[in-house]
């Protein structure tokens, strides 16, 4: 696998999920059978170009619905994708991830912050805005709740759905009020934050990233560091935009599998692994599962 092709892979997946670009100019949305299927990334189903559904939107639909139950399809989908790929989806498939990667390339002073505590906010967003609030706050007349994450937070809905739809639909534009102002303000703030801080939204607010992060350590597709090859030079940690230490903890919940550390590693100690290795050492590398569990036993990276 060539790691330099990540941007190309992201673009390909973006167009697989959003092929109907002409709809952006007309403000109409796709109404075909593809909308029955969820996409693994955060991709608003009201985006005019989208041909699939957003798993977070679909999950909230059931939590907020009249029965307030869990969607077995969405739960099974996230379990399967998470168990196979983990946060590889964030790094290679998610359209919102691609958007943030592109705007981060804008030349401005960058804030290299670890977000040590802020990264836990996304788990609160997942529990409260995706599950609890849609089930708890019910409209007395209709008996259903609201998709709180979509309604109050999701920048994907604002950027990829609201702006193109309202730009071309004068009738809907008349209904844009305080909620729209809030969503646009939040989206603008997240864009500014993501220009200066790498993957700010993914790291702090994304509930889908929070779900996939739970699988990162045990997913079939993961990373590994071959202890015998690692010279503890620290180049991998320096190259990581997320301030992780891949040599010490290659399967951190925060790792989006961007592969920057693998490209930087001079000895080929780091590699992708899914039952077999995809590294320079191929199948000859030793499994360092013990090392990962006993991270403290390793020599610290200088």
């Amino acid at each position: 696998m060539k790691y330099t092709n990540r941007l190309l892979t992201q673009i390909v997946f973006f167009f697989i999920q959003n092929p109907l670009l002409k709809n952006i100019f007309t403000g109409t949305i796709y109404r075909g059978g593809g909308k029955r299927i969820c996409t693994p990334g955060l991709n608003c189903y009201s985006c005019p170009a989208a041909v699939t559904s957003c798993p977070m939107g679909a999950a909230q639909l059931f939590f907020a619905g009249a029965k307030h139950n869990i969607s077995f399809f969405v739960a099974g989908f996230l379990l399967t994708i998470g168990m196979i790929f983990g946060r590889f989806i964030c790094g290679y498939v998610c359209p919102m991830g691609l958007f943030q990667d592109i705007i981060y390339k804008i030349k401005t002073p960058k804030m290299r912050v670890k977000l040590k505590f802020a990264r836990y906010i996304k788990y609160a967003v997942l529990v409260l805005f995706v599950v609890v609030f849609p089930m708890l706050f019910i409209n007395d007349l209709s008996g259903v709740g609201s998709p709180w994450f979509c309604k109050y937070i999701c920048p994907s809905g604002t950027i990829f759905a609201a702006l193109p739809i309202l730009a071309s639909n004068e009738y809907l534009r008349d209904f844009a009020g305080n909620l729209f102002v809030w969503k646009v303000s939040l989206a603008m703030w997240l864009v500014v934050a993501s220009i200066s801080t790498y993957r700010f939204f993914c790291r702090v607010l994304c509930p889908l990233g929070a779900i996939y992060s739970l699988f990162n350590k045990n997913a079939l597709f993961k990373m590994k560091c071959v202890e015998s090859e690692c010279v503890s030079c620290g180049r991998c940690a320096k190259s990581c935009h997320l301030f992780l230490n891949p040599a010490k903890r290659p399967n951190s919940p925060e790792c989006i599998r961007c592969g920057a550390c693998i490209r930087e590693c001079g000895t080929g100690a780091l590699c992708y692994n899914a039952i077999v290795d995809f590294g320079k050492n191929g199948g000859n590398s030793k499994d360092n599962g013990e090392n990962e569990e006993n991270g403290g036993n390793r020599k610290d990276v200088k």
């Binding site: 608003c44 939107g57 077995f72 989908f77 196979i84 999701c154 739809i165 729209f180």
Partner: protein, 46 residues
């Protein structure tokens, strides 16, 4: 190692089972019903 992989495969199969159960019980139509209309909450109107 083999046990670990077997557990992972079992979890994946369980996930696929959940998906099939959800699909059979009509969840896909419900998702499509929502997704084929403009979601007013998503665009900051409703």
């Amino acid at each position: 190692m083999k046990v670990k992989i077997a557990v992972k495969v079992a979890v994946i199969l369980f996930g696929i089972g959940l998906m099939i159960f959800g699909a059979v019980s009509g969840e896909l139509s419900e998702i499509a019903r929502k997704a084929t209309k403009v979601c007013l909450e998503c665009i900051g109107i409703g």
